[in-house]
């Protein structure tokens, strides 16, 4: 069951530049800041209420995030729904015939995650996440 919006992902040219607004001006606390090598991104999570904002800065040119930035520029990239069981959500989506990007949950900045293909939601990229106990406050 999807319980809340875990985060919204925003693709930016420079996370440091975006942090001037989201962290320094808005005052949102950073809960995670990590380069995810296999995805070629630096991800920064900032807490806002019961959800988070995720800044995504590509660290290589050959990734989906880099292509998004090149084709569309900075902006909102995906929406992540929190679930208590991401594997169950993925299985339910598969049974409905929804096209998946991830065939199985994998470790991401938000915990165990999986992405649906944007074609399944008219172009909107949707992520499921089940936070891992003790990970950046969740």
């Amino acid at each position: 069951m999807l319980t809340k919006i875990h985060h919204v992902g925003i693709v930016v040219h420079s996370a440091d530049e975006a942090l001037k607004f989201y962290r320094d001006a808005l005052g949102l606390p950073v809960t995670a800041d990590r380069v995810i090598e296999d995805q070629g991104v630096r991800g920064v999570l900032l807490q806002i209420g019961d959800s988070e904002i995720e800044l995504l800065e590509p660290t290589r040119d050959d990734t989906g995030v880099a292509r998004f930035l090149a084709n569309r520029g900075e902006g909102m990239h995906h929406i992540c729904f929190e679930s208590d069981d991401v594997a169950k959500e993925l299985e339910a989506a598969r049974e409905k015939g929804i096209e998946l990007i991830d065939q199985a949950p994998r470790l991401g900045l938000a915990g165990m995650i999986a992405f649906l293909h944007p074609r399944s939601n008219h172009g909107v990229l949707v992520e499921f996440a089940t936070p891992i106990e003790g990970q950046h406050g969740h």
């Binding site: 809340k4 959800s51 995906h78 409905k96």
Partner: protein, 142 residues
């Protein structure tokens, strides 16, 4: 106060050429309950709303979608709730950001201000509820 005193993401806007179809797809695919549909006063834009936790998902589209067109949607923008919009606007302007004056929002009693720079390409606004006195019309939903 550190920052602008934002309390939560108030809503996230998903823009499309057919909001009802997109909202129905999210309901079917994700099990999200669509709580309300309406036409935006003034523009006639068709809106549908869902709520997860304290965040509203707003599906926005044109008043008269072309039923023959391929339906396309995208994440568009977001609005943060603040306790004191005047103080938030003053702080952001003091830091050099371009922010509009607070103006009445569609939501009764609320004020909204648009942040026009520094947001990483995200259409972005601040909203304060119960900012101006209002009478709640009977049956109005949040």
């Amino acid at each position: 106060m550190t920052g602008i005193g934002a309390t939560h993401i108030d809503h996230i806007v998903i823009s499309s050429n057919n909001s009802e179809v997109v909202a129905e797809t999210f309901r079917r695919n994700l099990g999200i309950e669509i709580r309300r549909t309406m036409s935006r006063p003034g523009t006639g834009a068709r809106l549908a709303f869902a709520k997860l936790g304290d965040v509203i998902l707003e599906f926005a589209g044109p008043p008269e979608p072309d039923p023959a067109a391929e339906v396309k949607a995208r994440l568009w923008g977001m609005v943060l709730a603040v306790a004191d919009i005047a103080a938030a606007v003053e702080r952001l302007r003091g830091l050099g950001y371009d922010v509009t004056d607070p103006r009445p929002a569609v939501q009764p009693g609320a004020l909204i201000a648009t942040v026009k720079s520094g947001t990483g390409g995200v259409p972005f606004a601040l909203i304060q509820y119960n900012a101006i006195p209002h009478e709640s019309p009977a049956g109005a939903a949040p």
